[in-house]
């Protein structure tokens, strides 16, 4: 995943500089504007793959900005970044048209993972594939049947959802909180390494006894499903 154009709408210059630099290091092109109106104008022109929008901005707040864009049918995926990180704030942000919500302070790796996952959604008008494939791993989304190298593997319902999410985002880093949000639909921090244990159970099912692992741990960030044979 590289070469994304990202628009950062953030009034804190230091934070913006850091983000721009970090996105560049990750192989993306990030541009920065410092207030809501400029951000609105920039995003309206289009051409961006993802918007990173601070919620509290001078001249026009982040939620109005996204709401305005959506009214004009500009569907560029938007990640809202905010110091307001409680349940209600998140619900408000997503209702306003945001595609994801990240509370400050955050780890850049978390932001990057979310932005990369968001970018995929752009132009996703085509129906989702009924079969997900990563290397020799094949997940049939109609029958919920998983096979690897032709050999069938049985999954618990939650394991299925976990694997499905990972495979939908194959090749991209998926963080623990992203898994908790998307697979379990919880937005709190479980404090214990619950996700790690779930993932390691899944790993023992899909990777054990096979030469090349597909489920990788990305140190300090999360997990990634990738065909390592290629």
């Amino acid at each position: 995943m590289s070469g994304m154009r990202i628009l950062i709408i953030e009034d804190d210059q230091e934070a913006a500089n850091y983000l721009t630099k970090a996105f560049r290091e990750a192989g993306h092109l990030a541009e920065w504007v410092s207030d809501g109106l400029e951000g609105y104008a920039g995003a309206s022109d289009g051409g961006y793959d993802v918007l990173v929008v601070d919620r509290m901005l001078p001249k026009m707040d982040g939620l109005s900005l996204i709401g305005g864009l959506r009214q004009q049918n500009i569907e560029t995926p938007a990640l809202i970044v905010s110091a307001l990180g409680q349940v209600d704030d998140r619900v408000k942000g997503l209702r306003a048209g945001g595609d994801d919500y990240l509370a400050k302070p955050y780890a850049f790796s978390e932001l990057l993972a979310r932005v990369e996952v968001l970018a995929r959604r752009k132009g996703g008008g085509t129906a989702p594939p009924t079969t997900l494939r990563v290397g020799d791993l094949e997940l049939d989304r109609l029958s919920h049947k998983l096979t690897r190298n032709g050999k069938e593997i049985t999954l618990q319902p939650r394991e299925y959802r976990l694997l499905e999410y990972l495979m939908q985002n194959a090749g991209k880093v998926v963080t623990r909180t992203m898994l908790l949000e998307n697979v379990w639909d919880y937005h709190f921090d479980p404090q214990t390494n619950v996700i790690d244990v779930h993932v390691s159970r899944l790993r023992s099912k899909i990777d054990k006894g096979f030469d090349a692992p597909v489920l990788h741990t990305v140190r300090g960030t999360g997990y990634m499903i990738r065909d390592s044979a290629r």
Partner: protein, 476 residues
Amino acid sequence: MTVLGKLFRTTAFKLSLGYLVAFAIGASVVMTWVSWNVGRLIDEQIGATIEAEINGLSEQYAQGGIRRLVDVVERRVCQPGASLYLVMNFQGQAITGNIKGLPPEVLLLPGMRETTYERVGEAEIDRRALARIFLLPGGFRLLVGRDLEDRESLRNVMGGALLTSLFWLVVIGALGGLFVARRVLRRVEAISDSARTIMQGDLAQRLPLAGANDELDRLAGNLNEMLERIQELMAGVREVSDNIAHDLKTPLTRLRNRAEEALRSASDPKDYRIALEKMLEESEQLILIFNALLTIARLEAGGERGEHVAFDLATCVRDVAELYEPVADEAGIDLVVETSGESIVRGSRELVGQALANLIDNALKYAAPASGRRGAIYVHVQRVGDKVEASVADNGPGIPAADRERVLGRFVRLEGSRSRPGSGLGLSLVAAVASLHNGVVRIEDNEPGLCVVLVFPAAAGDAKSRSGDAKHDHSC
């Protein structure tokens, strides 16, 4: 002047002034009415006297002619306190009598009237009288009258009394008003002074009570109770902020120490890397504490409500338990979930889920008992009357009875648990979530171990069909 000015502006003074004016007007009306009536009564009595005399005199005239009449009149004139008499011939000339100087028109017309007159043998002093002219057969006229001096002097006395009493009324009323106003003013001033002292920060101060149990005392009493409540809240806030300061400063200090340590003694990039990673961990911990604090604060302020929907508590509990099940398994702890009965509640699935997660997380930390038994956590959902109870019990060391209430408070970490990870906010978040849902938290003894019971009011209505659906929906 300022004291007087203040006095004039007081409500008490204005009130007493108003009463004073109203009372003075009332008194004047009453006394005027009384004096007018007394005057009328006197006039009537005089009229009756005159009538009687005329009757007597005309009888004398009828019996003895003009000579007898003149005799009788002359005799009566000499008596002390005599009435006024005048006998005239048909030409209007006086034959006898004790008055003169009557206006001519009075003499011509018969009937009762008020008139001026002079007394015979007196200097020319205008006097007033009520008189009646009576035509006698034979063309003679008889005038009988009474002096009105008595009536006038009575009127004067009454007028004087009215004025004097009005004067004293005003004086006494004004003084009384002044006294009352000053008394009230002094107490209000005292209350106001105390209020100012309190505003300047001395919250321990209380408003003075006069002990009269009147409106002012009750007002001051209520304000004092309000102050008491404010002081309690302030103390609560202070305690919380002290705790926040402590629990945030401890990890902040560690963070700082690590940075200093790395700057001072790290020699190669690997050392720096390790130090930075440790610092990141510390900052993660800080963020966790901070988030928990914010959530609790917003829950308690009622600002955080989540999306309130009807959901099956049993499903929610199974979901959270499922999330933790692998962790429990790895730690060698049995996680047993039992649900029974209708368990639909209204509220935020997210917040209740978080509260349950906190409880299971806690139970996981303490379940492994010291005695070497296998750790076990029992999660139980059941319907009790119109409530739904979710309990999380472990077989760990539990909490001494004396501390059970306390652990729901913020940052309370009992002795022996300080060495374990955690913010000390878990249970107070649970308590805040429960009270947001009109529920309660009970802390019980699991013998051995701890049992935390969350009690929610059961949702009424179409709960049955929802629960049926929910049982198959593992996503909750």
